[in-house]
């Protein structure tokens, strides 16, 4: 997508918002300009810190999930025996809505960063694991044969075949799950904590009926999700340019 098209889409969304605000003339829906002013002010007053706290929580969960799920997925994708052993477990755990474990996680890990990082990690881990595993298992035997025939042992196969095949798979899984990750973060931060964008939106603004501040928080959290999405999308194009070429 071109930059101009993205800009145009953003402008039309803002315009729709403004029109709706004019139409309703309600306190619960301030216009984008008013919210932008509050956003600028609040960013310096504490919203900025909440943004960084939330950002840190998501990014560290992404890092831990990727570092654990990619090797695990590669191992399962390469070894039929290992996969046969773990597949039922993954099959059961993958569709379970991890968010319902939040109360239990809070009991065990407390209300600090760890519990939030852990719940997002849980949510990201399985999609990455499954996509990387399937990608590794789907590599054509011909490809493996011809690389082995060049003299590749296990380590070289991993380095030159399995790893490069896993990177785009992991990024695709990440890109698709990042929205859920931020949504869960919002939920986890909306109670039993004193920092993060969820806390700012629910406890500090919504609870005090401070509507412009609440909207500023919503915008900040949306921006966080968008930013992460853009970064992953960029990485995908950077690290897997061949996926974006057209077939002959």
């Amino acid at each position: 997508m071109r930059r101009r098209e993205l800009l145009l889409a953003t402008l039309s969304l803002l315009l729709a918002w403004q029109l709706l605000a004019w139409l309703l003339r309600a306190e619960v829906l301030p216009g984008p300009l008013a919210v932008a002013q509050v956003l600028g002010r609040e960013l310096l007053r504490g919203l900025g810190r909440h943004f960084l706290v939330s950002g840190w929580r998501v990014v560290s969960s992404i890092t831990v999930a990727t570092l654990l799920a990619v090797p695990a997925g590669l191992a399962l994708g390469q070894s039929k025996r290992l996969d046969r052993f773990f597949a039922p477990l993954v099959y059961i755990l993958y569709p379970v809505p991890k968010i319902v474990f939040l109360p239990i996680i809070l009991l065990f890990l407390g209300i600090g960063d760890t519990s939030k990082v852990f719940i997002i990690f849980l949510i990201l881990f399985f999609p990455i694991l499954v996509v990387v595993r399937d990608q590794a298992a789907a590599l054509r035997p011909e490809l493996i044969y011809s690389v082995r025939s060049l003299g590749a042992g296990r380590r070289a196969l991993f380095r030159f075949v399995y790893l490069p095949a896993a990177v785009p798979a992991a990024l695709t899984a990440l890109r698709v799950s990042i929205g859920t990750a931020v949504a869960v973060l919002f939920f986890a931060e909306s109670f039993a904590t004193t920092s993060g964008l969820g806390y700012y939106i629910i406890v500090e603004s919504w609870g005090r009926l401070a509507y412009p501040e609440m909207y500023a928080g919503v915008i900040a959290m949306s921006a966080l999700g968008l930013l992460l999405y853009f970064v992953v999308d960029r990485l995908e194009r950077r690290l897997a340019p061949w996926m974006f070429t057209r077939d002959m």
């Binding site: 011909e142 044969y145 690389v147 082995r148 060049l150 380095r159 490069p164 070429t245």
Partner: protein
């Protein structure tokens, strides 16, 4: 160069493909292997490449058993042999990078080094790409080039290993007729330039006669007897135009048909 002695091989829960099978390839020879589908042509190649192990008997390449693929055997497959995420240049240079990857690896005893040579240079990669006529495709990905260009890339990569044995499994089957003839001619030229021993598996009678100075005709599994057809005329670029070529094609066709007919009776 290749020595199959009393080889028996079967896939799990299936009747054997080869039984007490003996076959010998001398250094510098050009072989073509032909036979009906499912006769074990590819299996024969995989056994020689060290990708499969015989259940009984022994496979020796250059006098050594092949418990794993050796870097001085080149293998070119029909398709899917290239890394889809690497450009033409990177695919060819894979063997160079792998040589560097294993540079410090020591091999115990006097067994030959199974890893690619550590001394391949980018310059050599460029030269082989140029020799195969794909230098201008170097930055394209496999899905952006034609099937013929993909096979040229695979051949360039194999030859960069400086192999003394080149195994090809139906390398030109999925190409159109003109490209196929073009690459067959190129294969002959490269053989003349490098003197590499070649075994090419094909289901195409004309290809077998054009490229194989000796032709191994396999039968439906299990293969016990070796049926070889001498074809001393092959190996020159203009062989296709000669009467001997037509004669050989007819002869080979008759042999294959007779065997098939015998089975059907």
């Amino acid at each position: 160069m290749i020595c199959f002695s009393h080889v028996t091989f079967a896939y799990p829960n299936q009747p054997p493909v080869f039984q007490d099978f003996c076959w010998q390839v001398e250094p510098g020879e050009a072989w073509a292997v032909i036979g009906p589908s499912g006769c074990g042509k590819s299996t024969l190649l995989y056994l020689a490449a060290g990708l499969r192990q015989p259940g009984a008997g022994q496979v020796l390449v250059a006098g050594q058993p092949v418990p794993r693929p050796r870097a001085s055997t080149g293998l070119v497959l029909q398709d899917f042999g290239l890394l889809p995420w690497a450009t033409v240049w990177e695919n060819a240079a894979l063997v160079m990078r792998m040589g560097q990857f294993y540079r410090d690896k020591r091999v115990p005893g006097d067994s030959p080094r199974p890893y690619p040579r550590p001394d391949i240079t980018p310059d050599q990669v460029n030269r082989w790409l140029a020799r195969l006529g794909i230098a201008d495709q170097r930055d394209k990905y496999p899905n952006q080039i034609s099937g013929g260009q993909r096979q040229r890339t695979a051949i360039a990569r194999s030859l960069l290993q400086q192999p003394n044995l080149l195994l090809m499994d139906e390398p030109f089957s999925s190409l159109d007729a003109l490209t196929r003839e073009d690459l067959q001619r190129l294969t002959l030229e490269l053989r003349q330039e490098t003197g590499v021993t070649t075994v090419i598996v094909t289901h195409n009678i004309e290809e077998a006669v054009y490229l194989g100075q000796r032709i191994l005709a396999l039968d439906r599994a299990p293969n016990r007897e070796v049926c070889t057809i001498a074809n001393p005329g092959a190996g020159t670029l203009d062989f296709r135009g000669q009467p001997a070529y037509q004669q050989k094609c007819t002869e080979l066709r008759a042999i294959l048909a007779a065997r098939q007919g015998m089975e059907e009776k």
